[in-house]
Every structure is written in structure tokens, then in C-alpha cells.
């Protein structure tokens, strides 16, 4: 979608965390991203070095954990894996499901050099 601007929002948060801890630098940034977040992981990885250049996070590592798509069926109660365009219950096929995981776009942690 707009991975460079997402990277810039990410780096602003990373910088705030680094400042709050008086860090000298940032070694790694960990994200958790789901396929339904609308963000393309490969584009995010490409944008990161560009966006982080000249910041405290320059040359830090971007570690992305992919969140699986999981739904919980409100009819039969089963929890199952699903596809981005098929969020049906794998057990009973019902479409009354709730997304448990898969739309995350979350900054999990930052490894700081103190």
C-alpha cells in the first residue's frame, strides 16, 4: 500500500522508545504482521533501509514475524487456519467467524544499544 510511510511511522515510534531509554543506537526492530493488515512484507523490508538512513535506527535489522490467519467459529466454536479471501470455519464451513489473528501490524519490541 504505502510501505514507505508505514516505515516512517514505525521509525518515529522506534525513535521515541530509543529516546526514552537514552539509547546510543538501535540494533533490531521486531514486527508482527498479518496478511490482512494490507502491508506487503517484502516492500516493507525494501523501504526500511531507505527510511532508517540517518536515524538512530540506521543499519538496524528489521525482523518480521508473520502472523497466521486464524478464525474462531461463532457457530461451532472451532478455531482454524484460514486464507485471506476465505475466512470460513474449516470444520463446519460457516461464515460467522471472528478473526483471532492475521490483521496485525504491530511493533513488538526494539533492541537498543544502551
Amino acid at each position: 500500500m504505502h510501505e514507505l510511510s508505514v516505515c516512517q511511522a514505525l521509525l518515529a515510534q522506534v525513535a521515541a522508545v530509543a529516546r526514552a531509554h537514552d539509547a546510543q543506537g538501535v540494533r533490531a526492530v521486531r514486527l508482527r504482521v498479518g496478511p490482512l493488515s494490507g502491508v506487503e512484507v517484502s516492500l516493507l523490508k525494501q523501504a526500511y533501509p531507505v527510511a532508517s538512513a540517518g536515524t538512530l535506527a540506521e543499519s538496524s535489522e528489521l525482523l518480521i514475524e508473520l502472523a497466521p490467519i486464524r478464525v474462531k467459529c461463532e457457530t461451532c466454536g472451532a478455531e482454524s487456519e484460514a486464507q485471506p479471501n476465505r475466512l470460513l470455519c474449516a470444520r463446519c464451513g460457516d461464515d460467522h467467524t471472528r478473526l483471532m489473528s492475521g490483521d496485525e501490524l504491530m511493533l513488538m519490541s526494539v533492541e537498543l544499544v544502551i
Binding site: 531509554h21 475466512l87 478473526l99
Partner: protein, 267 residues
């Protein structure tokens, strides 16, 4: 839950939160990457609620008939309701001019090259666009089935248009967008007799595959077919919101803005 004290760390995600590595300190954050946008969106929503206006975000591909639908909607509802429109486009004022020609206030946001509206752009627009006395505010997003879905603007409901000149498998191809829809409008249905490839039932089936039970309405702003169901949805949605506001509550689009904390159920 807040994003500062760590109370958003739950047993389910604790294992992701802290990974000590020699020589460095790992600081747990667990914050949505779009948190700044979402904070601004919440501020916008509070602003809308203060003025008792129901805000609807219209999203679709370019050319699916958002502005034409708004013109038809204004035509019918303008005597009963006070309507305002915020238009998002890359370059021109054309859409705002079309809306003003119908006698309702319109503000144009020209995004330059940005492919979507965000909460900050809408907030900026609100400085030039008085909400006093409005019943409905429509925000016509930039024509795009990808990016607008990920940015909360502070709206109460998302409406996604799919014109029958597009493929009926659009909901399967753009699941993030159609999962976010509180109401799906199949537009230009007067053309259906010419378009044998487009099966409205199949389009609706793809929406259901996204576990989305939103109404899927078939209409044509050109010949008026199906428009009454859309107007009824608007009136009903507004009445429900008025009741929520009277009880001190509000509402958000059904699908969480992307990355919002899991297990949080919108009111």
C-alpha cells in the same frame, strides 16, 4: 488498554514481547504501527460525535460511481437531512464542484500523489469545514481498493462500492477492503443486462467468504433502481447512532482498523 505501561501484554502475546540478546536491551512496545493515525482518528470521531453527525467513508475503485451516488443521495435526502461532503482526490476540484452544484457544502482534499486519505488530512479539512447542524458527513475516499482500507479516519461506517463493470470477484481479490465494509453497494446495475459475466449473487458470495455479513445492495444511481434500500440503510444507521449518542456511546466500522489490539470488540 494503553500503549505505554505494558498492560497490553497478555498471556497470549507475552512470548513475543521480550527477547533478551547479549549486549543490548530489548524493550517491549506492542504498539500498532499506525497508532498515530488511530489516535487522530479517535479525535476526529469525538469531534463528529460532539456535533451529532454520522460520518460515512465511501471507498471503491476509481470510476465506480461514488460521486454520482452522492448526487442522487443528496437529491433525495437534502430536504430531510443536512448533508456535508469531504472529497478526496489526487488533483482536481471536480467532484466537490459537482456536490456544491447540488446545494450542499463540500470540501476538497487534494492529496497530490497520496493514494488514500488519512486521519490527519481529514482533521485538517475539518478546520475549514464546519460540522454545526450537519446530520450526515460523507467522506469520499480516493478511488483505490487497497490503501484506504488500512487508515481509520474517525468515520462511523465504511461503505464500499463495486460497480458491475468491474469483476464480480473483486471481494476475493481485495479482501482487506471488502472485509472492512459495513455495507456493500453493487452500482450501475442498470448495465447488468449487458454484462453477462457479472453475477451479483457470486459477488455477494465472495463477500460472505470474508465472514462479512454486511448488506449487499444492488442499485443504479442513473435510473434509480434499488436506491430506496440504500436510503433506508442510511436513515436506519443514523437513527441507531443517534440512540447510541443519547446513551453516551458511539460506534466504529465493524472491522477493526488494521493492527488494533486483538480481542477488542468495537462498540
Amino acid at each position: 488498554m494503553c500503549n505505554t505501561c505494558g498492560c497490553n501484554i497478555t498471556p497470549g502475546n507475552r512470548k513475543h514481547a521480550y527477547t533478551p540478546v547479549a549486549g543490548t536491551t530489548a524493550v517491549s512496545v506492542l504498539q500498532n504501527l499506525l497508532a498515530k493515525n488511530d489516535d487522530q482518528a479517535a479525535h476526529n470521531r469525538a469531534h463528529f460525535d460532539q456535533h451529532g453527525v454520522l460520518t460515512i467513508n465511501l471507498m471503491s475503485a476509481p470510476g465506480s460511481g461514488k460521486t454520482t451516488l452522492l448526487e442522487a443521495t443528496i437529491e433525495t435526502l437534502k430536504d430531510a437531512f443536512r448533508i456535508g461532503v469531504i472529497e478526496g482526490d489526487l488533483a482536481t476540484e471536480n467532484d466537490a464542484a459537482r456536490i456544491r452544484a447540488k446545494g450542499v457544502p463540500a470540501h476538497q482534499i487534494t492529496t497530490g500523489s497520496a493514494c488514500h486519505l488519512d486521519a490527519h488530512m481529514v482533521h485538517e479539512a475539518l478546520h475549514h469545514f464546519p460540522l454545526e447542524g450537519l446530520d450526515f458527513l460523507f467522506i469520499e475516499n480516493v478511488g483505490n481498493l487497497v490503501c484506504p482500507a488500512s487508515f481509520d479516519l474517525g468515520q462511523h461506517r465504511n461503505v464500499t462500492l463495486l460497480s458491475v463493470t468491474e469483476g464480480d470477484d473483486k471481494p476475493a481479490k481485495y479482501p482487506v477492503m471488502f472485509r472492512a465494509a459495513d455495507c456493500v453497494l453493487l452500482t450501475k446495475c442498470d448495465l447488468l443486462p449487458l454484462l453477462e459475466d457479472f453475477d451479483p449473487a457470486r459477488a455477494e458470495g465472495y463477500v460472505r467468504n470474508l465472514a462479512n455479513d454486511a448488506p449487499v445492495l444492488r442499485l443504479s444511481a442513473r435510473n434509480g433502481q434499488g436506491l430506496n434500500a440504500w436510503f433506508d440503510w442510511l436513515r436506519q444507521t443514523r437513527a441507531q447512532q443517534q440512540a447510541r449518542l443519547a446513551a453516551g456511546g458511539t460506534t466504529r466500522p465493524k472491522a477493526r482498523p488494521e493492527g488494533a489490539p486483538l480481542n477488542e470488540t468495537p462498540a
